[in-house]
């Protein structure tokens, strides 16, 4: 029998495996309920001193988490470096902004379009992926992100550099009013969608698509020899990542009510990528942890004012050095069995 290291992850993992469905259900409910209750659990320990905590919960925290989970499908699962994720976010935001002004559709009706256009963009971006690999693909994605922004700046029909203002918020749903004033309904909405997306991604991860992505990440050639339609799954990764990005963008636009191209810079792509890697590429919980921390830390540090980003950058270097594979890396729990001969 191999010796087992003491680590929380295994302890929790073992417990989870041995837990009854009821115990699992209770745990799930408690955890999820805690997250929904966060806007009420504001206390000096978790409060952000210079910014509204409720507001921070929505942006960046939960929105970063949503985007990070989407980007993780591309970067973490299938191992494709995407430096232009902000493009999907922008497409989602602009779709909502433009369609709500030009059509009589409301936010909820526009959402599918926002995701759809972002998926289409994912498909287009994914096409060069059919031939390119590694960092060559990375620069294409980077370029894509920049192109979307430059096009937005130079297209007067969508507001040009000044962007679009007077974007309506979501119409009330299930008795929830979405006022600019109160970020909480937006937080709850995004959290709900995040849970749905997590559910979907986990489902995919545990089934054929998840294995296909992993195989592509491990060895694309061999995956193909083993019957994996690598091109199709790479495209799907872009499409799903795009859809989630588009979703996040639409919600963001509906909350901030006015968007400009300058909100969608390379920096945001990099930030989300950092969330993914910092948290632990490929592990959805790690990625969420990464997003929460990287969203939260700069806000918490706001009192440092000028020194905030200095400290933040330092923290990234130090943390990566301490935990090179991220805070909660993807790691299969191996089970050792004695051979019964």
């Amino acid at each position: 029998m191999k010796a087992k290291a003491f680590n929380l992850r295994d302890i929790f993992g073992d417990w989870w495996e041995s837990a009854t469905p009821i115990q699992r259900g209770i745990t799930r409910t408690v955890v999820i309920a805690t997250f929904y209750a966060l806007p009420f659990l504001n206390n000096p320990v978790i409060d952000t001193p210079e910014t509204s905590f409720k507001s921070v919960l929505f942006y960046p925290l939960v929105l970063f988490a949503l985007m990070a989970v989407g980007l993780n499908v591309v970067v973490g699962k299938s191992g494709i470096l995407d430096l232009g994720y902000v493009a999907f976010f922008a497409i989602g935001a602009y779709t909502h902004a433009v369609m709500s002004a030009r059509t009589s559709l409301n936010f909820w009706e526009i959402l599918p379009f926002a995701m759809g256009f972002a998926m289409l963009a994912g498909l287009i971006l994914g096409l060069p992926a059919l031939r390119l690999r590694g960092d060559y693909l990375a620069i294409i994605t980077l370029g894509f992100g920049e192109i979307i922004r430059i096009i937005a700046i130079n297209t007067e029909a969508i507001g040009g550099a000044a962007g679009i203002t007077d974007i309506p918020g979501p119409t009330p749903i299930f008795g929830f009013e979405f006022s600019v004033m109160d970020p909480r309904p937006y937080y709850w909405l995004t959290l709900t969608l995040l849970i749905l997306v997590i559910w979907g991604v986990l489902r995919l991860s545990h089934r054929k698509p998840g294995r296909a992505w992993e195989a592509i990440r491990e060895d694309e050639d061999v995956a193909e020899f083993m019957g994996v339609a690598t091109l199709k799954y790479k495209l799907w990764a872009f499409i799903i990542g795009g859809a989630v990005g588009g979703l996040a963008g639409a919600i963001y636009a509906s909350k901030i009510r006015s968007i400009q191209p300058e909100l969608f810079t390379l920096n945001l792509s990099i930030m989300i990528l950092a969330c993914v890697v910092f948290g632990g590429m490929g592990n959805i919980w790690g990625v969420i942890l990464g997003a929460v921390l990287l969203g939260y830390i700069p806000e918490k540090l706001r009192f440092l004012s000028d020194y905030r980003i200095i400290f933040f950058g330092l923290l990234m270097v130090v943390m990566m050095n301490i935990r090179p594979n991220g805070l909660m890396p993807r790691k299969k729990r191996e089970k050792f069995q004695e051979k019964i001969s």
Binding site: Y136, I139, I147, I150, V222, D306
Partner: protein, 316 residues
């Protein structure tokens, strides 16, 4: 769209494109060298360049040469240029080596994913930009004019001035020296060996750490030299000066085939010229769009760039 400008101003655009390309190339080489050895996009390389520009600025300040407008006599300029150029090369080179030790080495030894190093690099980049933001008071720093920009002679539509000659000739000399170093010392072979198989390199007696340090030193020094040319040509810098030129340089490296020194050179000049032409015809803002479209097409035809090793599809 106005193509006539391509005819009327062809040579002026071309000369400027070569100058821009030369500066970009010096930065681009750093990306390619480091990529060659570590397969890592050294995201903080643009900050190494920025440190170079800051060094030039500080050196000049030390000498009290601030703000004058009268060009210096040639010998004085030449010795000053050598002074701040070499200092910048040194400081940038050393900064790059330190960066490698602080931000990448441990990750490499532990065999972490390349993306982890990328994030560490991004952190380092944030850190450096903000520190210099703080030090410079977030201002544009201004470099004195030391060399006349009056045209020495005209060539068709192009005005050739001393600073342009300096950049083109100076960069040419640097490229020649680099070529000697890469092709006629063991460093070049060592760099390639380490990039392909670190473990076996050790078995062949390659001091991997030293090769990597030298690579960073070389890449950093080249960026430092580039920063000196940049300062003479553009006469200004600021904490985030590296961002735009960094992206151009990285794009150029990829266009040429990242990891390949010749590729970075060709890619940079191609990019410099191409962007100059497209921004004249279509407008400055569209140049990046067109650049990326072209890049996509080049890569679709040659998936590893113009000079990239076609090893992406290794045999099974």
């Amino acid at each position: 769209m106005d193509f006539s400008i391509l005819v009327t101003d062809f040579w002026s655009l071309t000369i400027d494109g070569i100058v821009v390309g030369a500066i970009v190339a010096l930065v681009s080489l750093g990306y390619t060298l480091v990529y060659g050895v570590l397969r890592l996009i050294n995201f903080a390389h643009s900050e190494i360049f920025m440190i170079g520009t800051m060094t030039c600025y500080l050196v000049i300040q030390q000498f009290g040469f601030t703000g004058y407008e009268e060009p210096l006599p040639l010998w004085k300029f030449a010795s000053l240029f050598l002074l701040f150029g070499l200092t910048a090369a040194m400081v940038s080179g050393v900064a790059a080596v330190i960066l490698e030790i602080v931000a990448y080495r441990r990750l490499r030894v532990l065999g972490a994913s390349r993306l982890s190093s990328l994030i560490s690099a991004i952190g380092a980049s944030f850190f450096l930009v903000e520190v210099f933001q703080k030090l410079s008071g977030a201002k544009n720093l201004d470099f004195p004019r030391m060399i006349s920009k009056e045209p020495i002679f005209t060539f068709s539509s192009a005005y050739i001035s001393a600073d342009k000659i300096l950049v083109i000739v100076g960069a040419g000399i640097v490229f020649y020296i680099l070529n000697r170093i890469i092709n006629h010392t063991k460093l070049g072979l060592g760099i390639r060996a380490v990039s392909q198989d670190e473990k076996t390199s050790i078995l062949m007696g390659v001091n991997v750490n030293r090769i990597i340090s030298y690579t960073f030193l070389l890449g950093g020094a080249l960026a430092g030299v580039g920063s000196a040319f940049y300062m003479v040509f553009y006469e200004t810098t600021k904490a985030n000066v590296g961002f735009l030129i960094g992206i151009s340089a990285f794009t150029a490296a990829v266009l040429g085939g990242i990891g390949n020194v010749r590729g970075a050179l060709v890619g940079s000049f191609a990019l410099g010229l191409f962007q100059q032409y497209t921004s004249a015809v279509l407008g400055y803002n569209w140049k990046d769009v067109v650049t990326f479209v072209i890049l996509v097409f080049v890569l679709l035809v040659k998936p590893t760039g113009l000079f990239g090793e076609s090893l992406q599809k290794a045999r099974v």
